[in-house]
């Protein structure tokens, strides 16, 4: 039993472990932000109901202390990105779907896969445990900028670094495994350009994880040395803290941390986005009954995107005074990288044209992804140009921008993927009514939360303020927006209950799913439902055609699965 559910080397079990753990962490990360939203709407008022449970040190009298507020902010970002969205997009969907879509019996290195999950679980545990140590969790923002993070008292930041190293190790093991699996274990006949777009997006994502994460690994080791061993890699000479000159060796470079962090951090953004695009591409073609528009163009674009994502990191650092020449270079690369992103998004939108669209729950989430992701992308353009970034940097505008990309963008795509592949994993259909309530509620609530952030940011309200900007005159005209935003956040939390209930009851539902309930073409639907515990397929599959042969003229049905040969397709 332990071997079957906890220490299995089956990619499907590991995928589900990743999925459930990362959904749990998404809930934790979201709970932290619900506390933040209360504080922003009603600064300095005790948190109702649970205020007393937060501990006297964190919330004296139920009022969030400024230190605890900073912990919540830093850990919300860390948990959402590194423990929620990436493990769900790559660990869960990548593990479960990729071997099935390429017709493989398992991953190339099943035991490495198992190790990857447990490193992730250990990293998550260290992050959660850091809330309990004296001084609390890391409170220097999810970016942990030096020298603030170097000098932060307590053990929270050190535990953050240890947790990050474990998570990085887990990602590296996973990335090696994914690339090897996709290269080596494609079924006979599944040539490169017969791969579904989701597999391509996972391949590029794995390269980003493999090559970008080591920079943060190095940075975390150096910062750990600064904190524990008294080195000063990131501590410049002449630092004065609270009026006292700091007794360190000095001669470090605080900007070096930012370079190393964002060398990971920007490819990481594409790690969040590419699997989402892959999921949306699969769901759009299935539910429009049409081939993907510009499949090859999209594949080339995703490669260009992956490559360019290594050349744009310093657009996060225009305000650091690194020099106008460097700024000019990075704003040029940033403008260039928007081209492949727009190609992919446009191709997805064009794929809808002339389709006979089925509006089921996964399709609704995938359709909402398109305009929401577009809005997130467009609001990013002013941040990529140094001149407009300088007034907008570190305001709520930035927060609104990247939340549009990640929340109604990536997380919507992940929800879509859960509704789409749930029948394959469990053999049961999810409830459509609950799914629709979840969709409409989430879409409305997220827009009420994130759109006012753009307005507040344009008015100059900074992010990460304990009182939401109440002491600043320039914030007064937009301060009232905090109240509807916060109520929308509470509503968003309420709507997620429908999703959790839906998951719980659908696992036991009597609505059994057929092997191919959506009439899709890719190889994961050629397995029995759920796929066989060892080896997935009843007999080794063979691919005869491209991934998206929907509505082919003269065909027997409006879809021809990849594993169906020529005679059976026409019969």
């Amino acid at each position: 039993m332990l071997r079957k559910y906890f220490f299995s080397t089956d990619h499907k079990v590991i995928g589900l472990q990743y999925g459930l753990t990362s959904l749990f962490f998404l809930l934790v990360g979201f709970s932290l932000v619900v506390l933040i939203r209360w504080q922003l709407a009603y600064p300095g008022q005790p948190v109702p109901l649970i205020g007393g449970l937060l501990g006297e040190e964190n919330a004296p009298g139920g009022i969030l202390s400024a230190e605890f507020y900073n912990q919540l902010g830093a850990m919300h970002g860390t948990i959402m990105v590194f423990l929620g969205v990436v493990p769900l997009a790559v660990g869960a969907f990548g593990n479960y779907i990729v071997p099935l879509q390429i017709g493989a019996p398992d991953m190339s290195f099943p035991r490495l896969n198992l190790a990857s999950y447990w490193f992730y679980a250990a990293g998550g545990l260290v992050m959660l445990a850091s809330f309990l140590v004296p001084g609390g969790a890391a409170n220097n923002g999810w970016t942990s900028y030096a020298p603030l993070s170097d000098l932060a008292p307590g053990h929270g930041q050190t535990m953050w670094l240890v947790g990050m190293l474990l998570l990085i190790f887990s990602s590296l093991l996973g990335a090696m495994n994914f690339i090897t699996t996709i290269v080596q274990l494609r079924a006979p006949g599944l040539t490169w350009f017969r791969l579904p777009f989701f597999v391509w997006s996972q391949l590029v994502t794995s390269f980003l994880l493999l090559l970008a994460f080591p920079a943060l690994q190095a940075a975390a080791i150096l910062q750990g040395m600064d904190r524990v061993a008294g080195t000063s890699f990131f501590l410049p000479s002449g630092l004065v803290v609270s009026g006292q000159p700091l007794d360190v060796a000095g001669d470090g470079n605080a900007l070096l941390w930012q370079h190393l962090f964002w060398f990971l951090g920007h490819p990481e953004v594409y790690v969040l986005v590419l699997p989402a695009m892959g999921i949306v591409a699969e769901i759009l073609t299935t539910n429009t009954r049409k081939p993907l528009w510009g499949y090859r163009l999209m594949v080339y674009s995703v490669f260009v995107l992956g490559f360019l994502s290594f050349t744009v990191w310093a657009h996060h650092m225009f305000l650091t005074g690194m020099g106008t020449t460097i700024s000019a270079f990075f704003q040029a690369t940033t403008m260039i990288i928007s081209i492949p992103s727009v190609i992919i998004l446009s191709s997805l939108i064009l794929s809808l044209y002339g389709g006979s669209i089925r509006f089921n729950t996964p399709m609704l989430f995938a359709l909402a992804f398109l305009p929401m992701f577009g809005l997130g992308g467009l609001t990013g353009l002013p941040l990529g140009l140094a001149a407009t970034d300088i007034p907008l940097h570190d305001t709520n505008y930035v927060v609104g921008h990247f939340h549009y990309l990640v929340a109604p963008g990536t997380i919507f795509a992940l929800f879509a993927g859960i509704y789409h592949w749930f029948p394959k994993a469990t053999g049961r259909m999810m409830n459509e009514t609950l799914g629709r309530i979840h969709f409409v509620g989430s879409l409305v609530a997220m827009n009420i939360i994130f759109f006012p952030m753009l307005m507040q940011g344009l008015a100059g309200v900074n992010r990460r303020l304990w009182d939401g900007g109440a002491i600043y005159t320039h914030a007064q005209p937009v301060l009232f927006l905090n109240i509807p935003m916060s109520y929308a956040a509470f509503a968003l939390a309420f709507v997620q209950i429908f999703f959790i209930v839906n998951l719980a009851i659908s696992v036991r539902s009597r609505r059994m799913a057929a092997d191919n309930p959506w009439e899709a073409t890719t190889l994961e639907w050629a397995t029995p439902t759920p796929p066989l515990a060892h080896g997935n397929f009843a007999q080794p599959p063979r691919a005869f055609r491209g991934p998206y042969e929907y509505s082919v003229p003269d065909a027997a049905a409006d879809f021809i699965p990849q594993h169906v040969g020529e005679e059976r397709a026409r019969a």
């Binding site: 398992d106 080596q184 493999l210 080591p214 940075a219 150096l222």
Partner: protein
């Protein structure tokens, strides 16, 4: 269950899976040590007593 290509070479890619895996691991190590070495170069170059760009000509 047998995972294909763990010991024999896949004909169209020309490698075994462990070989490819180790090459990928080495690529990530290159990035790790590349980051550490470039951090060293940056810090060394910025330290007092570091060779100036024209020091070879000033003797």
């Amino acid at each position: 269950m047998e995972i294909p290509y763990t010991t024999e070479v896949r004909p169209d890619t020309g490698v075994t899976s462990p070989k490819l895996g180790i090459w990928l691991f080495l690529a990530s190590e290159v990035m790790l040590f590349g980051s550490l070495f470039s951090s060293y170069a940056l810090l060394r170059g910025g330290a007092p007593g570091a060779p100036e760009s024209d020091s070879a000509h000033r003797r």
